[in-house]
Amino acid sequence: MRGALSAALLSRAAKPVLFLLCLAPLAWLVYGAAADQLGANPAEALIRRLGDWTLRGLWLTLTVTPLRQLSGLAALARFRRMLGVFTFSYASLHLLAYGWLDMGLDFGDIARDIAKRPFILMGFSAWLLMLPLATTSFNKAVKALGARRWQALHKAVYAIAVIALLHFIWMRAGKHNFAEPAVYGALLTVLLGWRMLRRLT
């Protein structure tokens, strides 16, 4: 069983399949926007769903290592980078959608909005922190930095996840609607808790 799984994960088709899977939400959103299927306020729907997929991507990325350790399927590690880069892509599209659809690409307004509104500042900080991770995701960058420094830098992903979660909680605070942030919070507690436990034991 594990052998078959491992073989599937190592197969040449595995990465292209994951690539297409990661593109699917975006394709669905673009189709929805073009076909007027995003409801009465398509701009808001696009911004929010891109944000949702960023969070999901980030959480999936953080699931790879615990899953690998629990299952013993070393091949899982092959997919972590692609998930991370896709997460960054969705985060960038989320930011772009906010800046364009919500703020009309008025950079003065955007800067004021970021400075003034804590939940937007949180989201923007999370994206900024993602930048060095995304730009050092190439093999050459790993080599140039050296594995140890590269790993230390990429530990920032834990902070990014916490800030992204705060951004989401803050955004939902207006409606006192914490059901979804609570689910993300619980999952993140497990994902980060698992790592702490392993370190302690």
Binding site: G39, A40, N41, E44, L46, R117, P118, F119, K175, H176
Partner: protein, 322 residues
């Protein structure tokens, strides 16, 4: 001698059409078959869903009651709603409000008034002449719609109740029935939903006691069977599915003030100059009108109704009384 100075929005006594003349005009019109035959013009340009009973109305003659803006599509106005009694997602009310039973329905009118009473829906429907009014609706979240409502001025009901001099405010209570409203299970707000107005705001002719939209009875998700609509205030001030109207001496505490006093004030007049703590109120997205990549349109003080309602707030600091 008492000299009464009319407010600027009030007509001079000399301008008021004598009742006999007005009635005889109606008779002529009815005799020609015009009143019964002529369908309301506006409802035609903004078709309803075709599923709910029609609610006949004539275009309102109240100043400012008919906005020149293009009405929002019925499908958008009935599928993108904030009505937390059915859930906090804007698609929730349309999906879940079918459990609301808009009939039989009674509205209790009580408190500081000489003639309190329970009005059933059919009595309310006959209390005043139904008018169609096309109002801009500005949600506090930064989007707007244009809706052809059907109803009559809230003042008509208030006058009948004969409020006492102690009645300084009016408090509206929305139905809170767990059997009909699944959203009540969540603790988003302290149910029932309560909203309030100062007496002069409630008496303003633009304050509409509303029974229909797009020429039909109100859909459940839009606050059936009776709600108020206050076009110069953020949408949440316009209480839906009202079961109680109470005259009170002290300023009522609205549900949103209760939940987040630093974010939602008692007045909540549309004001581009007073930002919400988490977003700007300077602009808005007109649902169904502005393209995906269009810049949002500027929000106007009192949602464009300053000429009509501005004098209600003369001398008030609108930043403090947000």
């Amino acid at each position: 001698m008492l000299i009464r100075i009319p407010a600027s929005h009030e007509p001079l006594p000399s301008e008021i059409t004598p009742r006999q003349v007005y009635l005889s005009r109606r008779q002529v019109m009815a005799g020609l078959g015009l009143i019964a035959v002529a369908p309301p013009l506006l409802a035609q340009s903004a078709p309803g869903g075709g599923k709910l009973p029609r609610l006949a109305a004539t275009p309102s003659t109240v100043a400012g009651a008919i906005a020149a803006d293009k009405p929002t599509r019925y499908i958008d106005a009935t599928s993108y709603n904030n009505f937390y009694e059915f859930g906090t997602d804007k698609s929730d009310p349309a999906e879940r409000a079918r459990t609301l039973r808009p009939r039989p329905w009674t509205v209790a009118v009580e408190g500081e008034c000489a003639k309190p009473g329970n009005y059933d829906l059919d009595t309310l429907l006959k209390l005043g002449a139904m008018e169609e009014r096309v109002y801009r609706l500005r949600c506090v979240e930064g989007w707007s719609m244009v809706i052809p409502w059907v109803g009559y001025s809230l003042s008509e009901l208030i006058r009948r109740a004969e409020p006492t001099p102690k009645a300084k405010f009016v408090e509206f209570t929305t139905l809170a029935d767990r059997a009909q409203m699944p959203g009540l299970r969540s603790a988003v707000l302290d149910w029932p939903y309560v909203e309030g107005l100062r007496m002069d705001e409630a008496m303003h002719p633009l304050a509409l006691l509303t029974f229909g939209m797009y020429g039909e009875m109100l859909p459940n998700q839009n606050g059936a069977p009776v709600r108020v609509v206050l076009p110069w205030k953020y949408g949440f001030k316009s209480a839906k599915s009202i079961v109680k109207i109470r005259f009170v001496e002290k300023q009522p505490r609205s549900s949103w003030e209760d939940a987040a006093p630093q974010e939602y004030g008692f007045y909540s007049n549309v004001n581009p100059g007073v930002p919400h703590p988490r977003w700007s109120q300077a602009s808005e997205r007109r649902i169904g009108e502005d393209g995906l990549f269009a810049k949002k349109r500027p929000t106007v003080i009192f949602n464009g109704y300053e000429a009509q309602v501005g004098q209600l707030y003369a001398g008030m600091d609108l930043r403090r009384n947000y």
